[in-house]
């Protein structure tokens, strides 16, 4: 199963520490360049806030990804349990951004790659679970309220078990749940 990072709106305080951590993780030492624009500020997740919810939205690393299905340039692949975009192959057609049901892909202009006409190359960008970076997803590591978790097979199965137990409690007579009282 592909892994993914899931936010819990009951724990999230909308502080966007994850947003900054994402950029720092992907840009590395470039953030210390003397040139103020010597790095790209392109967070791969977006904290959304509504009346009742604050939570970051990011790629779910679908098992049968719509983005991959619509990509005409073979830029999207599944590798090591992650859905990844190869920006070198991306032609900037935006189909994946439109196809993603979660709004997890956005188009960004890369600072370091220039089109033949001098404009900056615009490519698709999304969460790569900090592929190849030490310590796993940076967003999860820095969250002050531990609102983000990396969901793997065990994690998903555990949360499903809890939900099934809650369904049982809600659906059955209370005396059927747990041990009989002494």
């Amino acid at each position: 199963m592909n892994h993914y990072v899931q936010g819990d709106p009951l724990l999230c305080i909308g502080c966007r520490t994850c947003t900054i951590a994402c950029v720092v993780a992907h840009e590395g030492k470039r953030i210390f360049e003397i040139d103020p624009d010597g790095y790209d500020f392109h967070p791969r997740l977006k904290v959304i806030k509504t009346w009742s919810v604050s939570v970051p939205i990011q790629c779910k690393h679908c098992e049968n990804p719509a983005c991959k299905a619509v990509c005409r340039s073979d830029a999207i692949s599944t590798m090591d349990g992650k859905v990844l975009i190869d920006q070198a192959k991306c032609i900037g057609c935006k189909s994946c951004a439109e196809a993603c049901p979660f709004g997890a892909i956005r188009m960004v202009a890369l600072g370091f790659e220039v089109n033949p006409d001098g404009s900056r190359r615009s490519v698709a960008l999304k969460c790569d679970l900090c592929d190849g970076l030490e310590g796993g997803p940076a967003c999860k590591r820095v969250c002050p309220t531990e609102a983000l978790r990396l969901v793997d097979e065990d994690g998903l199965s555990h949360s499903l078990t809890l939900k099934r137990q809650n369904t049982l409690k809600a659906a059955s007579a209370p005396e059927l749940c747990g041990r009989p009282q002494p």
Binding site: L10, L11, I13, V23, P36, D37, K49, P144
Partner: protein, 571 residues
């Protein structure tokens, strides 16, 4: 705070009043989230749907500026329904009978219109607070930044006294102060009326003690509060006038209300000295600038809002070519130059002098700070067993000479400048996470500047946006009687239609151009949370965008910020 920040997690009920932890202090907000996970109930009192409101059991979305009416009404219900801790009141307090008379007037029905809160919600809040057995109040600038501020704090203290929520673990009343070391500034006597350790300048014995320690004659007169500087420059008689202004880690030309008046004052003062780590708005009026080291380039002691002393340690050396000194070295040199030789070798020597002169801090030695990391005053003994005081007022013993808590009987008063036909909206200043205070630090951090940059946002209810015909991200003009500024529209249903919110760090979207210098008579804190304003659509957006760009460039250039282009991309 009467109780430690760490105790927040153990309260059974958190009464969060005018305090937006998620935006001001994510690290304290984390404690609120943990308390909730441990089963605490939360009441959130705030006109906005802030993060704490989302997880609260009860969100009281009161009308801006109605704080004391609500607080007194909650007290009314607690008395009416017999939920007081009568034993605690009898043994540990004075003035309850008088307070009962005042509270009798504040029925939930009578304040429903002022507060825009239903009587049922007021009753529910009162019952929840009074019956949890372990209720803690946290309040912030939503209480303090009003012309009626200190009296609301006293009103909140009334609630804690009448229900016996003082002097135990996980109860009490917590002003979660705005900035990391503002408690330290007060602890160290950076107030007009006290020496370090809250020792009053008007008490002759205290004066004698400091005169002996420092070997100089000292004044017994209370000084001038920061927010009254404009008055003392512009409107006082010649002999009382302020002539020199030494500004240190502060940016009044950005942070004080009614900036037009502040600028006029700064231009008229004969001498302005700025001591800071980067150039700021006040620096543009400075005759002398003293560059100092940043937080990671020097040692020191910070006080947390819960009275906890913690050491800060130098992490890096300042750049070799930077002509900077630590703040204490600058102060020592200035002092020596004006005739009082001051010499320290390190911060421990300074700290030892502080704790020697302050009985409440006496036991908080560097040795103990190293050993225990955090020491909350009072810590009166140097014995290693005295690890400080997590909560105050143990066994109902209060700091008054008779050891009793005092009830305060004070009526609600409306804010100074109410909405009117010309300015139909309420402007309240707020915080956003990412940018700190006046942005002297965070505005110079490129990651945070990329996260949010000039001209900043004005939070508006979507219905208001529709009425004005403005959309997300559009530049709008915000005006008050005192001035105007340009900011981007941020539609959000987390704010009510009657009020708009802006953060105060932006140079272009400078909401303090609009705010009113109406001060609380006791704390001298301005009414940043309430003035009348108007929002106008700007028809020519292209012009507005250019205005913002040009203005940003002008300000940066006038501050001497180099806008070099390296590698061919625009800076």
């Amino acid at each position: 705070m009467s109780n430690g920040v760490h105790e927040i997690e153990d309260a059974k009920l958190l009464f969060v009043f005018g305090y937006n932890g998620a935006d001001s202090h994510p690290i304290v907000a984390r404690r609120i989230v943990r308390a909730k996970r441990k089963g605490a109930q939360i009441i959130c009192v705030d006109p906005r749907r802030i993060e704490t409101a989302r997880i609260a059991d009860l969100h009281i979305q009161l009308r801006n500026g109605s704080n004391l009416a609500l607080v007194n009404s909650i007290a009314h219900v607690i008395i009416e329904e017999g939920l007081c801790d009568d034993k605690f009141i009898a043994e540990h307090s004075l003035g309850f009978d008088e307070f009962k008379e005042l509270a009798a007037k504040y029925t939930p029905e009578s304040v429903a219109e002022i507060t825009q809160v239903s009587p049922e919600d007021i009753r529910r809040a009162a019952r929840m607070y009074a019956t949890s057995g372990q209720s803690m109040i946290l309040y912030g600038m939503g209480v303090c930044q009003f012309a009626q501020a200190v009296n609301v704090v006293k009103g909140l203290a009334n609630l804690a006294i009448m229900t016996g929520n003082f002097g135990r673990w996980g109860v009490g009343i917590g002003p979660v102060r705005g900035q990391n070391n503002v408690q330290g500034a007060c602890d160290m006597g950076a107030l007009p009326n006290s020496y370090p350790g809250y020792q009053n300048v008007t008490v002759p014995e205290i004066q004698a003690k400091f005169e002996k320690a420092w070997g100089v004659a000292l004044s017994n007169k209370v000084g001038i509060p920061l927010t009254q500087v404009p008055h003392y420059v512009l409107h006082e008689s010649e002999e009382k006038k302020i002539r020199a202004y030494y500004v240190f880690g502060e940016d009044p030309a950005q942070s004080d209300p009614d900036l037009a008046e502040v600028r006029e004052s700064l231009s008229k003062i004969e001498l302005v000295i700025l001591q800071d780590i980067y150039m700021n708005r006040t620096g543009q009026y400075a005759d002398v600038i003293l560059p100092s080291t940043g937080w990671n380039e020097h040692d020191g002691v910070f006080s947390c809002c819960d009275r906890g002393f913690q050491r800060i340690r130098k992490v890096i050396e300042p750049p070799a070519d930077a002509d900077v000194l630590t703040d204490w070295e600058i102060i020592s040199r200035i002092s020596t130059a004006i005739g009082y030789p001051m010499k320290y070798d390190n911060t421990e020597q300074i700290w030892n002098e502080v704790i020697e002169l302050c009985p409440g801090f006496y036991g908080a030695t560097y040795e103990k700070l190293d050993k225990y990391v955090n020491i909350q005053w009072p810590c009166r003994s140097r014995d290693l067993s005295d690890k400080g005081t997590s909560f105050l007022h143990k066994d109902g013993h209060f700091a008054n000479p008779d050891g009793k808590a005092k009830f305060s009987s004070i009526d609600w008063q409306p804010p100074t400048e109410l909405e009117n036909d010309e300015y139909p909206l309420i402007l309240s200043t707020a915080r956003e996470v990412g940018h700190y205070s006046v942005r002297t630090m965070s505005g110079n951090c490129r990651l945070l500047r990329n996260l949010e940059d000039e001209p900043g946002w004005v939070q508006m209810n979507p219905e208001l946006c529709d009425e004005l015909g403005v959309k997300h991200g559009e530049l709008v003009k915000v005006l008050s009687k005192r001035g105007h500024c340009v900011a981007r529209c941020l539609p959000t249903d987390r704010v009510k239609k009657q009020a708009v919110y802006m953060t105060y760090q932006w140079w272009i979207g400078a909401c303090n151009e609009l705010t009113i210098a109406s001060l609380d008579p006791i704390s001298n804190t301005p009414e940043y949370k309430y003035c009348a304003c108007r929002v106008e659509k700007i028809a020519d957006q292209a012009w507005a965008e250019k205005y913002v760009q040009d203005e940003y460039l002008n300000i940066r250039q006038s501050m001497g910020i180099e806008l070099k282009k390296i590698g061919g991309r625009a800076a």
